[in-house]
Structures are given as C-alpha cells and as structure tokens.
C-alpha cells in the first residue's frame, strides 16, 4: 500500500475495516476483473462517458512552438473533465460491493458533479459534502449536483473549502461505513484510493499512448499535465511511467516494433501568485506541493504537503480552484523523489494567458487547471522535445466568471475585450 515512503493508511480506526474491505474489492474487481467488473467499467466509460477521447493535433500551437503538440481531450468526457473516469469506476465498484449509498467531497465542484452523474447513472443515492464558501462561489456546480439528484451538504467549519469537506466526508464515512462508499476525488487518501483512482484514470494514458503511436509512429518525448491532487496527472502518466529509457524516442518506429525509450513526465503545479509562504498566517499563496512542500501526513496518507513548521496544514491558493489543495497524491510525490516525474509550476498570470491562448488559437477553452500545463508549454517548449502530449484535463466553461474577473485585474495583451458585456444589459452569468 505504499509508494516508497509515501502512502499508507493514516485514518481513524473505525474506517480501517472499510478501507480493508475496499482494498480487497479493489484487488478482486479492479485488478482481477472479477465478475467482469473492468469490462463493465470500460463499456460504461465508452457509452456513458464518451471514451475514447481524441488525441488531437494542435495545429496552431505546433506551428507556434515548432513542436508537434497533441491534446488529449479529456475535456470532452461527459461532465467536462477527467473526473468521471474515477467517479464512475468507484460508484460502480460500490455497487459490486453491495453498498447502498455514495458520499463524496468536492471543492470546486468538478468531482462532486462527476460523482452525482455517475450515481444517477447507476441509480445510487448520493450525498456530496461541499464547503459553504465553495458552494457560494461555485453555484453552477451545486445546481448540477442537485439537478442530478444528489444531496449537497454544506460544510460550515473552518474556511468552508475543500479540506474541510474532505474531513467532513471522512466523518460521515466513519459513521456509515457499513452501507456507504466514500468516492475520493483524486489519487489521495489512504490505500487503496491512490492506486485505485490511478487505475481508473489510467485509461487516459492507455489511450494516449496508443493514439500517439498510431498518429506519430512512436512515443511522445514528453507528457505534460497539471497537478493538484494529481488524478489527471497520474492518469496521463501511468502508462508512460515504464517508458523510462535513457534516450528520448520520438524517433519513429516504422518497423512496427513496440516503441521504446524515455518519455519525460512533467507535472505542472499552481505557482499561484508567489512561491513564498507566509508562515505567520499559515498561508501559501500557491499550491506547488510537489515543488515546495515537504513530507507529512494528511487525509490518510503520507505525502508531500504544504504545512507550517509545526505541521499545521497551510491554506493553499491558486486562481484555479481545482488545483487549490495543500496535499498531493503519494504516488506523484514518490515519482518526483525518484526523478521519474519533473515537478514544475506556473503562476496565475501565465495560466490565465495560456487559457486565452488555447481558447483563441485552438478553439478549445480549457479549465484553468489545464491552462497551467499550457502555461508551462509556452515557456518551456524547447525542453520538451519534438512531440509533446498535453492532457486537457477539463473544459473551462466552469471558469468563465473567474477568468473574466482575474483577467480584468491584469494587463494581458492576449485577453479579449469584454466590454460588450457592460454595454449590453444586466443579468448574471
């Protein structure tokens, strides 16, 4: 259950039996495909979720960078983000396990909406815990969850954001473990969650690796993905982790042999407004856990964290709500320590600029999370080789209001003039 020194099961004793039961179910259904679980999962991912998602050649960006840029279009998945891969897998697993109720936490609301959709699809009652601050600022996602029939339970403790919601969901689970499954939204939490969520998300890189070989004749030189908790990141990396040869291999393989070589894996974190923390206030104006955090225990796992010198968890910050988390998946922490994954970060400004660039140049409006990956591409494409796959983890419809507000605070040449919205009538977005 560990990734080097990371991972483990740091949870209240009351949850341990549930986690052990889940680990057992994970082993049987996911790893062994018992009762055809994985077959059904993949079939539902296709028919309900819309898989496979395309690997699209990005013409304008490729020309701009003189590098072949491919977009792995998870934004086209049902719900608008990679989140459904995991939510559908876990809700289906809960059904196989005989559970009768689904709970989940959500921050920006993406995981909550994905879970609510999956639960509706599989006819499971579903309750989502969401901090009241997040409820107020992510109303469309609250609407979506409610419209899919899920209960949304406001969490009023503390700042009322993601980490409080996670704690609250764990508390619910501690009371209801016998009939309830807790759908954790990323590759975090106690074992088996980090491995299991990775396995559900690995379909991203399974497809991308095959598609890249099909389209380019070889492996990409680099895969770039944004990293918050890290589920899209590990999903995009998983099948490339073992492509760890000494040399890059974008050299094509016309012979049809299985391509080999090294694929660089770049995890782009939210640099926020600064990498400097305010110890006094316990605030990190970023979410660059892999780049700047240090080891600790949070939400059931040992991993890298943003914490103060006492070990109290810091408030993280990012223009992107979905990256705004003080922890990170233990597997990513391990792969970074091993040197297999390169952690980098991109600040709010560069992410916003990249958001506009992708929208205007490629006609794909990315999630602000995703935009961080493109911010890195803009600044560092020279180091990424000849063929780069960027994971478009989600679409940006949810971020429109934030983007407009944040853009208006900055002087970004690339940003479109939004004054039409002031010239014409009122009404909320």
């Amino acid at each position: 259950p560990k990734f080097g020194e990371y991972g483990g099961q740091y949870v209240p004793e009351a949850l341990m039996p549930a986690i052990e039961e889940l680990a057992d179910a994970y082993g049987r259904y996911v790893l062994e495909n018992e009762d055809g679980f994985m077959d059904e999962f993949r079939e539902r991912l296709a028919d309900f979720g819309g898989r496979p998602t395309p690997l699209q050649y990005a013409e304008q960006l490729s020309a701009r960078y003189d590098t072949d840029v491919y977009l792995k279009r998870e934004d086209l998945l049902h719900g608008g983000a990679h989140k459904l891969n995991n939510a559908l897998g876990q809700v289906l697993l809960a059904k196989y396990m005989g559970k009768e109720r689904i709970i989940a936490e959500t921050g920006a609301g993406q995981h909550g909406t994905a879970t609510a959709m999956a639960a509706a699809h599989l006819d499971m009652p579903c309750e989502i815990y969401m901090g009241e601050t997040d409820i107020a600022r992510q109303r469309p996602n609250v609407f979506r969850m409610r419209i899919n029939g899920a209960e949304v339970n406001p969490v009023t403790v503390g700042r009322g954001t993601l980490k409080e919601a996670i704690s609250e969901t764990m508390r619910d689970w501690a009371t209801t473990v016998e009939n309830t499954h807790y759908v954790i939204g990323s590759i975090v939490g106690p074992h088996p969650f980090p491995k299991m969520v990775r396995d559900f998300q690995a379909v991203i890189s399974e497809e991308a690796r095959e598609q890249a070989i099909e389209k380019t004749g070889g492996l990409p030189d680099s895969v770039v993905a944004c990293a918050g908790g890290g589920s899209n990141t590990m999903g995009a990396f998983a099948e490339f982790v073992s492509d760890d040869g000494a040399e890059r291999s974008s050299a094509k393989n016309p012979s049809g042999d299985e391509p080999r070589g090294r694929v660089d894996l770049v995890a782009v974190e939210a640099g926020g407004s600064s990498l400097t923390v305010d110890e006094e206030k316990g605030v990190a104006p970023n979410s660059a856990t892999l780049s700047t955090g240090d080891e600790g225990v949070l939400h059931g796992a040992r991993t890298k964290l943003l914490q103060d010198s006492d070990g109290q968890i810091m408030e993280s910050h990012s223009v992107s709500a979905g990256l705004d988390y003080a922890g990170v998946g233990p597997e990513l922490a391990h792969l970074v320590d091993e040197g297999r994954v390169t952690p980098v970060n991109v600040d709010d400004d560069a992410a916003l600029e990249a958001f506009h660039r992708l929208s205007q140049d490629e006609g794909v409006i990315p999630a602000l999370e995703t935009a961080h990956a493109f911010g890195y591409l803009e600044e560092n494409h020279d180091e990424l080789g000849d063929t780069v796959v960027v994971n478009v983890s989600g679409r940006g419809d949810k971020d429109l209001e934030t983007v407009i507000e944040e853009t208006s605070k900055r002087d970004l040449d690339i940003a479109p003039d939004m004054s039409i919205l002031n010239r014409v009538g009122g009404g909320g977005i």
Binding site: P12, V157, I166, A174, D294, S309, I313
Partner: protein
C-alpha cells in the same frame, strides 16, 4: 508505562479537553477543575488543523484553540504550567508528532529540543513530551499498522501508546493492536465520530467482550455525557470512561455566554464529579469485576 495505574483501584474517569480552548489561561483552569472533580487520567488535545476523527463539538474546540495561538511548543508549556496531580495523555494527529523534529525553523520557538533535527520522525516530539511530563498518546489517525516508529519512541522514553478499538475492529487488526497498545485501550462505543449523545450503545458490551483477553484496562468513550451513562458503561465491564464532548460543550457554552472562568470551571468540576461517581457506582453493580 504507568497509565495502567490510574485504573488499578477503581474505574477510571478519563476526561478530554482541547488545550488552549478557548484560551491558554482559562484552559489551564478548566483542566485543573477536571482534576479537582476526580479525573484519573486527562486526555489533553493538541489541536491539528484537519481533525478528521472529530465531531463538530471538538472540531469547534480545536478551532478556538488554534485561533488562541496554540502550537506544539505552546502545548508543552501548557503542560508544564498545569498544576494537576493526574497522569496526562496527549491526544493529537500524527502529522504534528511527525513534523516536530523535522523542522529547521523551530529555532526561534520557546523550546530547543527539536532544533534542526530532521527526518527523525516522532522521536523529538515524544522526547519533548516526556520531558514536560506527558505519559502517553492517543493518535486518532494512526492505526497500528503505521504506529511502529511512534511505538518505538514511546518505548524509548517510557510513554504509553493508547489505541482506539472501533466497533468494526476485528480479527487481525485486533491482534496487531494488542501487540502495540499500552496504558489503556480506548474502546469506541459506537461508529461515528466523537460527540455526546443521549443513549448508550449495545455495541459496547460486544466490544468489551472481544477485548476480554487483553491485559490493558479498557476505557470506553464516544457519547458518554452523564453519570448514569458512565455507570452503565462501567457496569457493562469497562475499566473506565472517556468523556470529551459533554465537557467541551460546557467550555463552548461558557465561552459563548461570556461566563466567568470560575463559573465554567465549577460546572466542569461538577460534571466531572458526577461522571466519576457514576463510574464508581457502575463498578459496584458489576457481579464479578473482571479487570486484570
């Protein structure tokens, strides 16, 4: 390894308060009131920012304590400042224990024990705790499987490590815990998180039965709020009762209502006395005490 002694003569009353709730000075008075009221062991909470095992009552206490400036170092001062003659147990989350020795920026804080120590794991924290007189730990997010390093440090410095047994804990997990536990075992009376409730769960007897061959005292917690509850629990075979939320409620109400420190302390002492007496009555009702 001395916490067992608190259970030796009669059933133990083990209250919990979050250190520094609602502030340092009042909290000292409140903890001392519990000792006055008959506490045999006191569980002192060192607040962590992500208390995943607590119900709302204790969560709120933790927020109040953090906001009043509680830190690990301040916690150790708190313990030193306490004027009580009762064994003290530190209840906190593992990250605080784990990080204490790992910080390079502790130099400016009051104590120096952890200075520039790095990658030492729980040892510096345990060392410091022992130094100020803490006799044991309860760490709600540290199951037996992950407890090796802490157990080792506790052994080195002669501290107890209390584990929580849940109603759902069975088989191998019980074995693993039994190997590591010392001082007493915290028997969780029902599923869920901490919080005072109005009834005593039937699961308690079943839990006690599963632990009958353990050679540490069995203290039952979760949901005990009156002397009668305590009585029933002990009558059912517990060696002690752990009470948190009912006491924290008194602190919270006093804080909200702006009551004097003395008034709140009196109430705490009074409830403590009731609980201790209930526990004692319960022991008398047992046909055949089975404590080791």
């Amino acid at each position: 390894m001395g916490l067992e002694r608190a259970f030796a003569d009669e059933p133990a009353f083990v209250p919990y308060l979050a250190a520094g709730d609602p502030n340092y000075e009042d909290s000292l008075a409140y903890v001392e009131a519990l000792a006055e009221g008959g506490a045999d062991v006191i569980e002192l909470g060192l607040p962590f920012s992500e208390p995943i095992a607590e119900g709302k009552t204790i969560q709120d206490a933790i927020v109040r304590s953090l906001e009043s400036g509680m830190t690990p170092d301040r916690f150790f001062e708190f313990v030193e400042d306490l004027d009580v003659d009762v064994p003290l147990v530190c209840m906190t989350y593992y990250n605080l224990i784990y990080q204490y020795g790992d910080s390079e920026s502790r130099s400016d804080s009051g104590t120096a024990s952890g200075d520039t120590a790095s990658q030492e794991g729980p040892r510096p924290f345990v060392e410091k705790a022992a130094e100020v007189g803490i006799e044991g730990f309860v760490v709600p997010d540290l199951p037996a499987e992950e407890a090796g390093p802490l157990r080792e440090a506790c052994d080195e410095f002669g501290l107890d490590l209390v584990f929580i047994v849940a109603p759902t804990t069975r088989g191998d997990r019980l074995e693993r815990m039994m190997e590591q536990v010392s001082g007493y075992v915290y028997v969780q009376a029902r599923l869920g998180v901490t919080g005072a409730r109005d009834d005593v769960d039937d699961a308690t007897e079943a839990s006690l039965a599963r632990l009958s061959d353990w050679d540490v005292p069995k203290a039952v917690g979760f949901g005990i709020k009156t002397g009668e509850h305590a009585e029933e629990i002990v009558a059912a075979g517990a060696d002690g009762v752990i009470v948190g939320s009912a006491l924290v409620d008194i602190v919270a109400e006093g804080h909200e209502d702006g009551d004097s420190t003395e008034a709140v302390a009196d109430r705490l002492e009074s409830l403590a006395r009731e609980l201790k007496q209930g526990a004692v009555r319960g022991a008398q009702e047992r046909p055949q005490p089975e404590r080791t």
